[in-house]
């Protein structure tokens, strides 16, 4: 699979995951379906629907290449 030539690489990637544990301060432990590392701690920012996530909810997590263990929950997966 060719790589985008330098300077054009996309910074953010979206990965599917499942909420495993609700932590304080709107943090959730999310098991990512597609990454080697099993879990990411994800912060639910933004819209209100994400404030009531429960273990078992399927979500989409946005990751930056710098730290693949932390990401932002961007939406619920229907």
């Amino acid at each position: 699979m060719p790589e985008a030539a330098a300077g054009q690489a996309r910074e953010v990637m979206e990965v599917d995951g499942i909420v495993r544990e609700a932590l304080p301060n709107a943090l959730y432990r999310v098991e990512l379906l597609t990454e080697k590392r099993g879990t990411a701690t994800a912060h639910a920012g933004g819209s209100s629907g994400l404030l009531r996530l429960r273990p078992g909810d399927e979500v989409v997590v946005e990751l930056m290449p710098y730290d693949m263990t932390r990401g932002r929950i961007v939406r619920r997966r229907s």
Binding site: P2, E3, A6
Partner: protein, 259 residues
């Protein structure tokens, strides 16, 4: 991150690359008119599963499938679809990668579906020849730019153009590593090649102009002028004796391998 792989790492990559090429053989066999690209994707997934290898593309930067399947004017990164069927006369690029114990293999080839035009055959032959010209440049002490120069010289010498927006890459403990390996550029420039380096060399050659654009699905790259495009790729290790195409047996004397 060290770019040089140990002998045992190279052995594992050899297994991964051999599996990728085995899967490409299966796909080439299956590439008949009427089959959907999603069915081909399932074949590739099943092949990796059976051989206990992990598909490398699935989930990579959000890519949704095991296989990249790029038909005719599609250059690379075509997403398999249940609606897309191969037709007689198509040329189809298959690009696959897998990992074993966290070490990656990556390879691609373009195949003909049924009977294709002479122009299409010549484009495919040229792209493959360009890949091997690039591999020939993989000797320690030479530079990354020598690879791109060899590829570009061969492809443009036959009246084609090489894609600039996508490039080959280092490969090993991840699918894409440093250095990038463009298919163009001046000889004698870029990082020096040293034994133990592993590179995925992958010329993408267009029958028309070199410009490509990415469709709204954010993956599929097509030629801007609608011309045919072909893509061949192999993962190669630099050894002190020269290139080792990792999907093939180690080509040099065994005792030298441990040096």
């Amino acid at each position: 991150m060290s770019m040089q792989k140990s002998w045992s790492e190279l052995q594992t990559m050899h297994r991964a690359c051999t599996l990728v090429v085995g899967a490409l053989d299966v796909l080439e066999e299956a590439a008949v008119p009427g089959i959907t690209t999603e069915e081909l994707d399932r074949l590739a997934f099943a092949f990796f599963k059976k051989n206990a290898a992990k598909p490398a593309f699935l989930g990579y930067r959000g890519y949704p499938a095991t296989l990249c399947v790029s038909i005719n004017d599609e250059v690379v990164h075509g997403i398999p679809s249940p609606k897309r069927r191969l037709k007689d006369g198509d040329i189809v690029g298959f690009d696959l990668g897998c990992s074993i114990h966290g070490l990656f293999g990556d390879s691609a080839r373009t195949v003909a579906v049924g009977k294709v035009s002479d122009q299409a055959l010549r484009l495919m032959e040229t792209t493959k020849a360009a890949l091997y010209a690039g591999i020939e440049a993989c000797h320690p002490g030479r530079r990354v730019g020598d690879i791109g120069h060899a590829v570009q010289t061969l492809a443009e010498g036959r009246g084609y153009s090489v894609v600039r927006e996508f490039v080959g890459h280092g490969i090993g403990t991840s699918l894409h590593e440093d250095p990038q390996v463009p298919n163009y550029g001046p000889a004698g420039k870029g990082k020096r090649l040293v034994p133990g380096m592993t590179l995925a060399i992958e010329p993408m050659v267009n029958a028309g102009g070199p410009e490509v654009r990415v469709l709204d699905d954010e993956w599929t790259a097509v030629t801007v002028d609608g011309s045919l495009s072909a893509h061949f790729e192999l993962s190669v290790a630099i050894t002190e004796h020269g290139p080792w195409i990792l999907s093939e047996p180690y080509p040099y004397a065994r005792e030298a391998a441990h040096a």
